[in-house]
Every structure is written in structure tokens, then in C-alpha cells.
Symmetry: D2
Subunit: 339 residues, 4 copies
Amino acid sequence: MIIVMKAGATKRERDEVIKKIKEYGYTPHIIHGTTRDVIGAVGDERGKVILQSIEFMNGVESVVPILKPYKLASREVKKETSVIKINDTVAIGGKDIIVMAGPCAVESEEQIIEVARVVKNAGAKVLRGGAFKPRTSPYAFQGMKEEGLRLLAKAREETGLPIITEVVNPETAELVAEYSDILQIGTRNAQNFELLKKLGQIQKPVLLKRGMSMTIQELLMSAEYILSEGNHAVILCERGIRTFETATRNTLDLSAIPVLKQKTHLPVVVDPSHATGNYHYVAPMSFAAIAAGADGLMVEVHPDPEHASSDGPQSLKPENFTAMMVKVRLFAEVAERSL
Amino acid sequence: MIIVMKAGATKRERDEVIKKIKEYGYTPHIIHGTTRDVIGAVGDERGKVILQSIEFMNGVESVVPILKPYKLASREVKKETSVIKINDTVAIGGKDIIVMAGPCAVESEEQIIEVARVVKNAGAKVLRGGAFKPRTSPYAFQGMKEEGLRLLAKAREETGLPIITEVVNPETAELVAEYSDILQIGTRNAQNFELLKKLGQIQKPVLLKRGMSMTIQELLMSAEYILSEGNHAVILCERGIRTFETATRNTLDLSAIPVLKQKTHLPVVVDPSHATGNYHYVAPMSFAAIAAGADGLMVEVHPDPEHASSDGPQSLKPENFTAMMVKVRLFAEVAERSL
Amino acid sequence: MIIVMKAGATKRERDEVIKKIKEYGYTPHIIHGTTRDVIGAVGDERGKVILQSIEFMNGVESVVPILKPYKLASREVKKETSVIKINDTVAIGGKDIIVMAGPCAVESEEQIIEVARVVKNAGAKVLRGGAFKPRTSPYAFQGMKEEGLRLLAKAREETGLPIITEVVNPETAELVAEYSDILQIGTRNAQNFELLKKLGQIQKPVLLKRGMSMTIQELLMSAEYILSEGNHAVILCERGIRTFETATRNTLDLSAIPVLKQKTHLPVVVDPSHATGNYHYVAPMSFAAIAAGADGLMVEVHPDPEHASSDGPQSLKPENFTAMMVKVRLFAEVAERSL
Amino acid sequence: MIIVMKAGATKRERDEVIKKIKEYGYTPHIIHGTTRDVIGAVGDERGKVILQSIEFMNGVESVVPILKPYKLASREVKKETSVIKINDTVAIGGKDIIVMAGPCAVESEEQIIEVARVVKNAGAKVLRGGAFKPRTSPYAFQGMKEEGLRLLAKAREETGLPIITEVVNPETAELVAEYSDILQIGTRNAQNFELLKKLGQIQKPVLLKRGMSMTIQELLMSAEYILSEGNHAVILCERGIRTFETATRNTLDLSAIPVLKQKTHLPVVVDPSHATGNYHYVAPMSFAAIAAGADGLMVEVHPDPEHASSDGPQSLKPENFTAMMVKVRLFAEVAERSL
């Protein structure tokens, strides 16, 4: 931690800061600058947020942290990329690019099994489908709940595809974990710390979506919540951030892929469907995600998007998904990955 | 709902749209434009999100909703501003401006009682203090939990001030409701719909903070979740949105006050402490909030901000809070309000 | 400047950094941390942007500047607030709050003289009006140009009000300066550095609007362009930044007022008309700006907003402006200012 | 244009709106809804911004435009993608992906010629280099100006590569046009309408960078300024938008590629260097841009980034650029393009 003193700070103010630094167990180092002094505080500053109170002291201009506030998620702590095992044949973070596909919401047995077969044939390795649906409007369809989980499990039985579905609160986390192979945390719950802690205590892979207004560092802090409770199987998902642009529902931040690859060992997947909100843009953004180094994709596919109970406009029809996957495979090869 | 057809849409495409509109129970009206057709669909479109699937149809350029997606929160439905009764003497939304003040986190009996006395003397009408703390870092202080609630209740006993504290998950909602006079939903939970529904079922006033990346319309949708479950005592709180500017922690969107006053009957308060993240800016932003028409303020006050267990840099010292309140009263008078 | 080395940086990498620091004329100070080294580089780092190339060196994690990149605009360099003299009776930055009012665009002699009289009677001290109009659409009204300047001058003759109008390119800067008392730089030109330099060479007060996506620090850098060319009469104007919120045209960042007051000696005014884009919100935001410490306001007033050639929806009618000014005066008094 | 009336609007208010619509030469169509009326105004609404004044009328809730405000840039007006010819062998917008590469700023004859050779050998088709440099700080290097243009021309002579360089104001536009094959408009000038008009009058291809806070629609409006002056050779460039994320300098909005491809016939290139501000992220983002459908790239290459006079940290070394181009070619092939 570096403490920058104000230009006109007095010796007494500086001494107070040094005293406080020592109280907290750090070793101070003073650098006398041309217009102001700078004090380095040596010691492991993580977890000691109390140090921010130094910002409050007289004569202090600003305090600059040196260490990243996350530890277990950091590539400094674990150099090799984590490979998260989903079942005996599927793992995320290895050479294989994993495509997770399916409808936004499970609507019926027929629908989910039909989609499961289609996406499997096209090369998807995981079936997605919402049973508990967090919706912006209280008047919108809220999901089939446990019945939806049962239908997902049936689709897994039929096709062998592992399933991913969203957990919306701590109470139903264990119920969802009984059925689902991957537990998804949605964008609106990405800083629901109670939910993060709960999933940290369940030994199932977690897919953590980036919150709409979360920085990459905050995403890693949310991952740290899960990791620090003992669950190390965390997959990060970029799904668009909120910006002033309205031509797409959110702005897909593909730069987050190389940034995350540099900072963390956790695998990174991309959800182009929710990011763009428009099925026309899903294929190009999927190709781009693979080219940028993503470990997987999460794509909405619906047999009849016009009658979907949620998010129809962003869902691909089966034939479009199948066509897209042909090119995803080619891009994956250039990226030295397999599908 | 207005459906704008593409410039080159065929008659068949248009007919398909009209057919679909009728299926959903709307009455279609076609307007033949110079370059394209526009179709009006008459009927109550709220709750029928399925209509968005029309966007997906061939020949459709865009679909423009006419009705606001919220109903109970709307000023069209209820013209007069809601006055939310907190106890026998305190109500929010009436002529009185209500200042809620206290520390970010309850730390000890001594601390919370001292602050309660200070803020009461200065003119605050509600005591705030966090018992359950949602923190970005898992390594940061997470609050005193139930013990914190007991200390808040003790401070109420001592001073007569009603209390407000945050609820972080549905499980502990009833516990918090036993102690607290107002239930606060924090910015990171503003779209935690499970929590919103839960608080909609408890008959206690709820203060709903705007999420960092929520539009004003989405804030009203979250309020609608609480209202539609039967709890009509909702207070909205502007606390800064996330923008590119880093000189303040968030950007306090004071324009939200007149916008909300126009669109909803619910009272609106402002939290300048979390918005700016810097105690220097709390007083000017408090004055501005009152001038802009806010019904109240929520301000952090700590007897010893340098040793606060959370958010020290944004907390006012008691003497600064007291000085600020003198001017808040004067600004309130010009705004034709009382303190 | 502080250079943070990577956790595993070698001694050789560190030595290379130290060598480079010395080459640039700085004195290095090494702090050996628990997990990494930190190097302080002592010397005046302003203008030496070349130092950023250190970020590029092997073993370097990040480089943290200590000094602000602006000098002349900084309150460290000049402690007392600058009072910018407009004419013999009007100055901005002193005890008087200066309200600048008038139509978005000058449309006719009758219109501008009528508005000038109205705003003068209500208490405005400066007449605003656009002669050269930068418009998002090439098909929109682009202003009356030199004829507009002549009409503004005539309105000044009639009423004694000094005038402010926008300069849109370096070529016409001197022409505008012949007529206008204050030269305005619009939001879209706030980083048009050629224009800033040009106005730095003309000895007339400049009102610099914040760019829609400019940080406060960048606004001060743009001011520095004008100041460093020799023109010290710069007035800053907050007029809303671009965010995801669409209920207002831009998001008025009133926190910028106390932030700027802390960082710079230059006066700060607020334009609530362009920020909100809606005349309903102009009065509350004007009151809030005064309460937050603004030195002035810039408000659009039009005798017949329904027929305005630009920005009608955000213009106040004369009677609304007059009513608003009554309350502006009261808020100004509480803020210990006069009108 | 659709006018939505308020729920309680009177018949008289509605009649006033209809009268006004007719005055402007539109044909009104009334749709009687369940809670309010909606009025369609038929006619070509482009250029008639005056219509926005209807928003101001009593009883009007909102006005929704139907037509896009741009015409010449629209794919509705011109279906086939424009291919912009640069010289006898290079064109942008056709099957070939065009890579423009070179240093941020021209620094010396030796530097620019060395880079020109390197990038040509690696497959670049255009040499980029700044002669006039718009810099945020007045104390930063502002470019070699005309001498820089001469050196660029020399590099063209040596290598045969056409050149692109930035124009910073209308005065020097013709000077730059004498030397340069493509005229670049930088992000800070993307709404400098005087400059746009000037370049619309010069018959040279223009590369228009998206402003940091411009929507895609506004980018097309700026293009419309150039097109409407008679210059149809406009290339659009996505270079990152300003968001809350700070891990990259800006957020590269790759979704803008498919959106623009849908809305306009103009070619689209991507600048990953300025967008990310970090050379580590340039290659993955280049690959992603090609995969998403970009027509070209604009990449910074510097023989000695550590000693670059501007933007060193985002410049690729020659060997990294060459390595990147090998993979760019492979991604281009999968995208059914050639390099």
C-alpha cells in the first residue's frame, strides 16, 4: 500500500500516518518527493480493509493498494488454468471448447427433450434450461420450478448431456444441486453474497455470470467468495455489461477474455444470447468469443422462438444453431482448440 | 403496442403479424406510411411479455411498447404521493423531510448508542446501522448479525428513534423484521427478486435502494415486485449509479428525483454517503438532494471514522453532521418542507 | 511515480527498470515488499508521458502516477478561486451567482430581444444564444451564423446584458470573439484540442463544457490547454454525462461541483437544460446546482418553445423561468450567495 | 412518427396535436386504445426535427420516431456493401481484409520506413502513422506535423503502401489530403461537425472513428454529414467505448460489427490497439474482430515501443505483429475472407 501525502502536508501529519501504519503491523518506508512525500507500507494488505481509513487522515491525498484484493482466484497463486470436471467426459477449461445450449426456460417435456437432442447432434456438450427464472417484471413467467428441474433431468437421461440451470436463492440451492450438474448464478445475483457463500459450500461446479455493472476485478471478488468457502470449481461467464449503447441489450465485453486469462486460472465462457438480446448477432459474437480465447459458449436455442415464454428474440432456431456450430468448429481449430 | 414493419415487408408478412396480434387478443390498426406500414395493437399489454415475440417475425423492424411495464407504482394509478408511516410520529413522503443517519455497521453498544444520541440531537428522525453487511470482499467485516440487531433495538429504546437496517437474504428477513422498523434492500440486491417477493409479504416499510446499473424504470419494476405481493409501504432510494467517472465512487443521479416524482407516487430519499464515497462531498450533495425535491436523506455518521470497521472515508464525524443539519433545515424551508 | 513489480520479477528486470528511471532523470527508491518490490521514482513527472513506457518493461505489473497531470488548473498551484470578469459589472466565481439564459438558437431579432428583456427582468446577468449550431444531424438547423452574432450584439445594446455564444471551429473563433463577451466550447468540442489552443490565444473569457464522456480530470486537462496558451479566464460547465439511463438525455453529475471546487480554482457553472433535455426537470436541477455550490447556471428560455428551431422540449417559457428565478434567489441566499 | 397521448388527455388536447401534425404536412391516423390514444403521423419525418416540439404539447406522453434519422448511410437506401477504393490494388469492404498498421506517431524517417517494411512483409496493406496528434495533455508530444506527412509519403514511395493519417482541424485538411491516401477522423473529433463537413467536400476516402461515447446511430449520423456533402468513400472504425470498466482503456464493442453490417452499407474496421490500450490484448481482439465480420484492422506497431513518443504500451513489436498476422490470415479464411 502506498500513501501519497498532500503537497503541503506537515511533518506532524506524516508522523501520524506512520504511527497508524505501524499500529496495523506494517513497516513504513518514506520517499521524499520534489513536491510531496510518499509512504510505502509493507505487509500483506489483503483483508485489512481497515487500512482505507488512512485515506481519512489529515494530510493524506490518496492511498493506492498494491495487492489485488483476491487471492485464490489469482493466477499468481495458481499458475495453470483450472480444468473443471463436469462429468466423466465433459470438462471446462481444457482443450475442448464446451458449448452449453438450450432454451431460456424449460416449458414442457417435449420442448426440452427436443432441444436437447438438437443441440447434442450439433455438438453441444451441456444442456441449459431455466427452471427458476429471475425476471425484471413480476408479471412475467417465473419458471416451472421443481417440475422444470425434473424435466431437465429427464432430458439428461435421454441424451446423456449434463445440465446447467440457475439457482436464485440460498433456500433452493440444495434442491437445484440434487438435479443439476452445474449451478448457475445469474447476472442480477452476481453480488448476492449470501447466495455465493451457499454455493461455496456445495460441491458442485458453479457458473458465475458477470453482473451487468461489475468490473472484472469485482467478478473475481465474487468468485473469491465461492472459492474461499471451499468450492474450487468456478467457471466465469462474460454476458455483457451495461453501457449507453442501446442497439444491443448489453455490450458484450470480449476484451474481458484476455484480461481474465491473464489475471485468473479459472475458465471463461461467453453468453452471446443475453449480451446481444438479438439472435441475428449470436453467431458472429460466438465466433468472436472463440477467436478471443473463450473456453466455451452458452447459447439459447428454442424450437419455436416465436412462442417462447421468455427471451424469444434472442433464441436461435435449431437449424441456425446447427449451422453456426459448423463454423464454431472451424474457428475453434484455428484457435487450437477442439469442439 | 406499435409494430413497425420493414420498408420492404410483403403483404404476407404483414398479414402474419396481424393474425398473431389477434391471437393474443389485441385489435390491430394498420397505418400505411410513405415507406413502410405501422400496426397499432390495442389492448392492455402489461404482463403479456410474449408479445415481444412479434419482434422475431419476418418483416418486422421493431416493436414499441406504449404502456409502462409497472402499474401499482405508477402515478397514473395513484395520483397523490404515498406517505409511509414508520411509527406514531415519523412518516416519509409528507411535508417533513426525514433524515436517517448512523454508522455503516453496528460495532458495539457504546458506538451505536452514542451515534443515536448525536444524530437525534442534530435532527435525524431514524437511526440507520448495518447488522448484516454485504461486502464486495469475502475477507471484509460481514457485520455483527443478530447481536447487531439487538444493539439497534437498544439504541431505539434509549432514544426513541425508529431504526432501519439491511436485509440480505430471504431466510433472515423475518428475523430482521422483528427488530427493525424499516427493512432496507441494498443496491446489490435490488434485482434479487426472491428477496423482493419475501419483503412484499412482510408488513413493514421497505426502503429499496436503486441498483448501481438499474434504470429508473427498472427500479420501479423492482418496487412493483414488493407492491404486487401486497406491501404498499415502499420508499425508493437513489444512491448513485455506475459510470465511467472515478472521482466519486458512483455518480449520484439527482435528476432521478424529479423523474421519479413525475412517474410514481412513492417517496424518494437520497444516500449521498454511498454515492460519493467521500465525506467531503456528503454535505453539498445532501443540500442538493433537498433542493431537488427529495423526501429524505440517508447519511453515514460515525463517532470515529478512522477506526470504522467499514466505509470510514465516507462517514461524517458527529460535529460535521450536526453542522450540516443546520443548513439542511434552511434548504428544506426554501423547498417548503420542514425537518 | 510508483512502479509496482510483478510477484516473480527477477533482480535483472528490476535493475533494468531502475536504469531506465535514472535515464529519465528521476531518483529511484526501492521498497522491498513481502511478495514484490515497489520502486518510487522521484522528480516532476508532468509532461514526461514517456514514463508510461515503463509499463511495457519486463517484470513490471503497473505504474501509478503520483502527480495530477494538470498544473495551472490545479488548486495546489492557485489556492483562491478565480473570479472571471465578464464586463464592468458582471464576474463569475465571486459571491454573485450568475445566471446565463436565452434560447438554444438565435432565430430572429424580435425573438432574441424579447428573450433578452425577459431574462434580464427575471435576474439573469448574461444572455445566451447560439449563432453557430453543432447538430447531430446534418439535416437539422445549423444556426444563423454571423447574422445571429449581429442580433445578439443588438440584444446586448438594448439590454446591457453581456452575451455568450458557441465557437465551433478555429476559423470562426476570431469572428465570434469580435461580438461575444464569453466564448463557449460545446460538449462535442471539449477535446477538440485545436479549438482549445485557439481560444487560449484569444483574450476573452471561455466557458468550457464538459464532454459527454469526459472524466473530471480530463475536463481539467482540456482547461489546461486553454490556460497553458495564456488565457486564464476559463469557466467550467457541467452539463451531464452519458450513462445507461435514458429517462433524461444525459445524467447531470452534480457531484462534479464539490469535486471541482476541491481540485481547481476555476469557477463552475451548470447547464440543467441540456443535461436533462426536459423542461420539467430544469427548475429542480437548477435549485440543486445552487445548493451544491455552483457559481452559476446556464438555462434555455424560449418565448415559444413549441416553435423553437432547436431543442424546444428543454426550453423554459418566460413565465416559468421567472418563477424559477424567484426560488433560485432563495436557495442562493441559503448557500450564502447573492443573485 | 407515433404520438402517444397521456392516459387522461382531453379531446381538445388531442385535436391540437392533430392540427399541428397537419400544419407540418403529415397525415394523422388516430388509434383509440384501452387507456389512451395513439396518433400516427404519416410522411417523411427526416430533417423535420421541428416535430420534436410536439413532445412539448399538452396531453402528449411521448413521441416515437419511426424512420432512422440517417438516409445515405442506410442499407435500406443502398443494399450492397460499399467497396472503398484506396489505390489501384487496395480496396476496403470487398473480400480482402485490409490491415492498416504502423506507429501511433511518426517520429523519424528511419522509424517510419522501418515499420513500413515490417508491416508490409507481414501482410499489411496500408501504413498508418500520426503526423498531427490530438493529445489529452497539452504537455504531451503533438506530432511532427507537415514534416511527418512528408516522411509518410517517403515511406509510401519506398514500399508502395498507401497511407492513412489523422486530420485534426478543417484548416489543415487540404494539406493532409495532399499527402495521405485515407483521411482519418479521430474519436475526439467524431462529432466535430465542421471537420466532418470539410472532409465531405474533399474527394478522398475518410476513416471515421467512433466517438468514445457515441451510439451506433450517432456514428451513422456523423457518417451522414460526410456523405451528404458528396463524399461517399466513408469507412467506419470501432475503437472502443467508454464504460465503467478500467481493466482496458476502453471497452471494445465488437457487437457493433454485426449491428453496423445490418444497418449500413459502409465498411467497418476495428482498432484493437486504442480500444484496449495494452499490447497483450491486441492479438486476441484482432482475431475476434475478424471472426465477428470486420472488413479490416488498424493496429499499432512500433520497432521500439519502450521508447515510443506516444502510446508505447499498446504498440506491438514487429515480431509480435508478424506472428499475429499468421493467425489473422487463418481466421480470415474461416470467415471466408482473404488477407
